[in-house]
Amino acid sequence: MRKTVIILLLLATALQAAGQSRVFKGTVVDKRTGEPVEFATVLVKATEQWSVTDEKGRFSIGNISVATSRVEIASLGYVTLVQEVKFTNREVTDVTFKINEDNLTLESAVVTAQENSNSAATSRTIDKTALEHVQVMNVSDIASLLPGGATVNPSLTSDQQISLRSGKGESGSSSFGTAIEVDGVRLSNNASFTSSDLNGRSGSVKGASTNNIASSNVESVEVITGVPSVEYGDMGSGVVKINTRKGKTPWSVTMSTSPKTKQVSLSKGFALRNTRKGVNLGVLNASAEYTKSVTDPLSPYTAYDRKQLSLTYSKQFAEGVLSDTPLRISAGVAGNLGGLDDRADPDKMLDTWLIKKDNSLRANFTSNWLLSKPWITNIELNASMVYGDKQERENARYHNSTTSTALHATQAGYYISSDYVEGGANNAVLLPMGYYYNVMAVDDKPFNSKVTLKANWVKNVGKIDNKVKAGLDWTVDKNYGVGQYSEDLATAPSYREWRFCDVPAMHNLGAYLEDNFMFYTGKDSHVNVIAGLRWDNTVINGSAYGTTSSLSPRFNAKWTMGKFSVRAGWGQAVKLPSFSVLYPTPSYYDIDIFTSTADANNKVYRAYYVMPRKIEYNPDLVWQRNTQAELGMEATLAGIHISLAAYSNTTTGAYNKGTVYDAFAYLKTPVSSVQGLSIPATDRIYTLNPETGVITVSDVTGANAPIEAAGVPKKQLIQRYYEKNETSPIRRIGLEWVVDFPRIVPINTSVRVDGSFYTYRSVYTDMDAYCPYTTLSKDGSPYKYIGWYYGGNGNSNGTETRSVKTNVTFTTHIPQVRMIVSLKVEGSLLRYSRALSERADGSARSHVLSDRTDRLSFTDASVYDGPGYSVLWPDYYSTVDDPGTLKPFGPAYLDANESNKDLYDDLTSLVQANTTYNYTFLPDYISPYFSANISATKEIGDLASISFYANNFFNNRGQVRSSKTGNMSSVTSYIPSFYYGLTLRLKF
């Protein structure tokens, strides 16, 4: 990589003397003071050429090939200025840009998410003013600022994720598919085992937690909910780009308090220069934050804390040979120490505690080289890494009334407990009787690194701006944790070693090409078409998964005519699996085959047959794919700005867990076979034949001959899991709207109405096996039949939901007194859900029982027709002797009812009758409900500002009605409870 950079540098140097065109020079100053603004970025939008101002606010951009372009001037602490510039002369040198310091004296200050009108895909930005106004403690809180977003009270004591355009409890792992980047560093959850587990269909793989991002250091957040650029890979739907502070800033101190959370932070952006030589050495932004959040304000001891230090350095090299081809570098590092700790909690049992680390180290390096050549405009090299330490340690107190047995065996076979031996095999350890402590830990250290090389080529021909973007990225996911372990194996409870660090790394090589075509059809009208293709090649050496390739095409188009624009997008994205999907934690079925009687010291020997529920690699596993389509429009009519976005998200091949059953035989020895033997209990030694499972009792004194205990052969089914892709799609369709009414000047108030209509539908159509294998058959043997169910063995195999949420925000902004107050009324107008039971073609899967107690008699009605008790028969069944041969269930069950009562009773255990509630499949409409939140920010000169918020400040604790059950329930399940917070910021 280093060689490549050097070659490129030499190449560019050689070519820099090539053709010159227009030069753009100017100065950026503070509008109020007239002082030059250093480290401001000046960007020529049409050509994507840029420069950074020096200590005198000067900038220079050469080789400008367009006659006009919008120019964007951005600097930390200032309002971004966008201005049209005509490059009519060969050299434009006298431009002075006056930029406004960002504060509440400005009419333009907003505290809501703002749509990026230049983007061809739906994208919104939440800037510092809005973040400070709502006092974000956890970046996930920004979801409330999106259309139809609902406020939640801030929390750090449980992991929070961001999930866009989705609902709670849905399939398809939407938060896992949301790409979150902090300064370009992807917060990947791929390599974590503890926070990304796939727990069957009801669960989802969770996305990366946002808890350990220092919220006080966030400058802005961009949320792309539309079809993103192909440069974003390893995702499902939605990109959240978090930008932290970079640049020169005064000292800033923030102090926040709320009943559960306290925060203090300090930051400063330093301009580094050699004063003797007057050389600019770049800018260093440093930020430190301490946040503590407790689970219970009445007992504020169990707490999550975040101690974060961030350093960001950036510098432009634009002198000498680089004067026309400036090189800008930026490097950042953020370290976090913290996590959950309940050691101080007096309500915990003495000396028991839980510590969950949430340490992380993020580092990134970016170099951006503006070549401004006819064949290449810009080249960018990024390298980033995230290392997490999510170790969890728990000191628990144990009590055994007899000796107990801890199993650590990982191979199938018979094991009998024996005393712990230091360094011994210790597959079945005899644990002591009485009380003791033991520390169990799970060491999870996910690591993700990424290197990206990206090149832009901008060509402006007449009314056409054409931008080509090509790039390569290489990501590595690896876990360096040792998995679960005990700090004292002699007293450890049953657990199996599962070393995360032995799992091979997952490499993904991505390559992409994107063309961004802009055609200016008039003064204020243009057409923008973006088409891109991304190729991902995932390599997992050392595993059966091998190499997987995927293609992700994406398109966006936008037509702008003055104050009206319409846009459309379509694209696909693949989400790489988490390690928990690729390598689920192995589980074991430990069958108790023998328990001795207790001797006078309560010593008991236990023997087990250990059967690993080995999880097979699924060679057919492919990466979960999301297909997104979007239609959007923006218009400004009579001062009313309207934004609409309709979308469809379809997830196919969602990660899921499948089940298979295998039969196996073992020998079981009843306790009665050793009770009352001539060998006294205290003199007995129990040994086990590891091959046959036969228990032999010997006399430690030698007075009696060994006695072989009589065993009983058993045969049983065992459940095993494997990872798979769902065959049925998960569909989400929605509409989002934002309407901004013009400011009502007399009362300094503006009104925003935003909302969303959302539908979700998922029907599971896989043929799944189920066996109640821990129960007994009629003849007393372990249960010996397997049911095969279309859509699994649940009465319901799907869900559909619909919702309409609308928020009305009244913002009163009085620049003269530097104060802004917002009242946001959040309403749920429609909240509907319904359990489904149907086949892919919509035909019936479950049936309505004629008689609640009779599983054999159905009515002709659909389960959706009204109240009724329902039943689900498996489509097929198989037996312990031949688990793989499927026989039609219905005829066999009916026949057994007539002729074989024992078989009938056994098969009845496979019939899934839903006779407890008769409303399972009824539509559930939750009656409308509302909540009101208020926020206020007041600046006290330039020195200080203070913000206050109160969520649900009317303390709405009313009730809502469920149409499904007819029951009333508290609205507090749906809206935040009354909560408040205060923040004081000082700037000097």
């Binding site: 009590h399 009334s401 009665s672 609640r852």
Partner: protein
């Protein structure tokens, strides 16, 4: 003439003397008398029953035992007698007393001399639940412990009881305060008029024949039959050889309980699980425990007959209940958690049990049977052996909590003193039981 006079006198004398002699002779020659025992008009064909006969003057008494036809044969002088019988036996947990007498037994010369005694049967409960301890106790430092549950069965009579066909089970729901569908909107028990109760989880039967002597008990460990006091001081020692153990079932894969080697395999109980679940679920909060009479084969048939299950609460293996016939229920107790009285409902129909007894959980408290004061004091052998001023209850009148034995008799102390205790048996858990401070078997 004189000669004829003598002959006449001699003849008269001889005639008179013959009658007199014969009369005298007949009176002293015993007659065979048969007495047939009958019940409801039918021969009561039980051998070995003693029949007592007393003559009219009360000066002579006779006793014979019946043969296999229920007949006793006496050899009695002619005369009038009164015969009486008291026959005590037990059957399926019930104490049966047959009483009968016949005061019209008149033995005559050359008569048939066959008489009947009609027996009147009096039933009383013989096997009862004396104590239930399932709600656990504090561990030595902190936390609670409930693997030491036990049930005490008691022979509340003076006759040895055969408990071989006794079964033990629970009534659904596991906790009196658990939400379930056996009540209508008004809280009325839906099976209150039915001839069954919903048996839950499993039905336990003895593996070997069991007899319980008069006024004696057996202790059955529900989970671990070990000395729990080794690690939990407030617990009990359930490892004694005379105790019994509900052994683990194959279905109960989650159960880790063991028995001491002291307890012979003949003291094991086995169960037939009837609901799904990986453990025997005696609630440590508010169970309803009952004992019944039923042979093992009948238990197996009852549990196997899935069509006979009650599905009021659901048809799944977790919610369909075995209908245990009321006629087979011997005794039961409805225990409620003191912390959840308002939410609790009775689980027995009124014909079997009314009322409830409350308990505070996790304190080492047990539910203990009250003494039938009148009956116990009436036993002559108890003279001077009864201990009063019982202080083992938990009644705190000021706090209006707990309960105690209103008889005031300290049953356990009295038993140690050699007394025979007859416990209250009114089929009202509230009157028959109280909450005891400490487990009765705790040493």
């Amino acid at each position: 003439m004189k000669k004829y006079l003598f002959l006449a006198i001699a003849g008269l004398l001889s005639f008179t003397a013959c009658d007199f002699i014969e009369d005298i002779f007949n009176k002293v020659v015993p007659q065979e008398v048969t007495i047939q025992l009958k019940s409801n008009g039918e021969a009561f064909e039980v051998a070995g029953i003693a029949i007592d006969i007393v003559d009219a003057a009360g000066t002579a008494s006779f006793q014979e035992v019946t043969d296999e036809k229920g007949v006793a044969v006496f050899i009695l002088p002619v005369g009038n007698y009164t015969a009486s019988v008291t026959y005590k036996t037990s059957e399926d947990g019930l104490r049966l007393v047959y009483n009968g007498s016949n005061s019209a037994i008149s033995v005559a010369m050359d008569a048939e001399n066959a008489f009947d005694i009609n027996l009147q049967k009096v039933e009383s409960q013989q096997l009862i639940i004396k104590e239930v301890y399932t709600t656990g106790c504090p561990k030595n430092e902190t936390g609670t412990y409930s693997n030491d549950a036990y049930i005490v069965l008691y022979n509340n009579s003076d006759i040895e009881a055969d408990a071989s066909n006794l079964v033990i089970s629970l009534v659904y729901p596991a906790n009196a305060h658990a939400t379930n569908k056996y009540y209508d909107a008004a809280g009325k028990l839906l099976y209150g008029e039915a001839d069954w109760i919903p048996s839950y989880s499993a039905i336990w039967t003895f593996d070997s024949p069991v007899t319980i002597p008069a006024y004696s008990q057996i202790v059955i460990a529900c989970f671990g039959a070990i000395d729990h006091t080794e690690t939990v001081t407030a617990s009990v020692n359930l490892s004694k050889a005379e105790y019994y153990w509900m052994q683990k079932n194959d279905q109960f894969t989650n159960a880790k309980y063991v028995a001491s080697d002291n307890i012979p395999a003949t003291h094991y109980l086995s169960c037939t699980p009837q609901n799904s679940g990986n453990s025997w679920v005696v609630s440590n909060s508010a169970p309803a425990v009952f004992i019944g009479k039923m042979a093992k084969a009948e238990v197996a048939a009852l549990v196997a007959n899935k069509d006979g299950y009650d599905t009021t609460c659901g048809t799944t293996a977790a919610l369909a209940m075995v209908k245990f016939p009321n006629a087979n229920v011997v005794d039961g107790v409805d225990i409620w958690s003191a912390a959840n009285i308002e939410k609790s409902h009775v689980r027995f129909p009124a014909s079997l049990n009314t009322g409830y007894v409350a308990i505070t959980n996790n304190q080492g408290h047990s539910i203990y049977r009250n003494v039938d004061k009148e009956a116990t004091e009436a036993l002559p052998e108890n003279e001077g052996k009864l201990v009063y001023d019982y202080a083992g209850g938990t009644l705190d009148a000021a706090a209006a909590t707990g309960s105690t034995d209103p008889s005031g008799i300290d049953a356990e102390a009295s038993i140690k003193a050699g007394a025979h205790i007859i416990y209250s048996e009114t089929n009202d858990s509230g009157k028959d039981f109280h909450e005891r401070k400490v487990q009765s078997i705790k040493e």
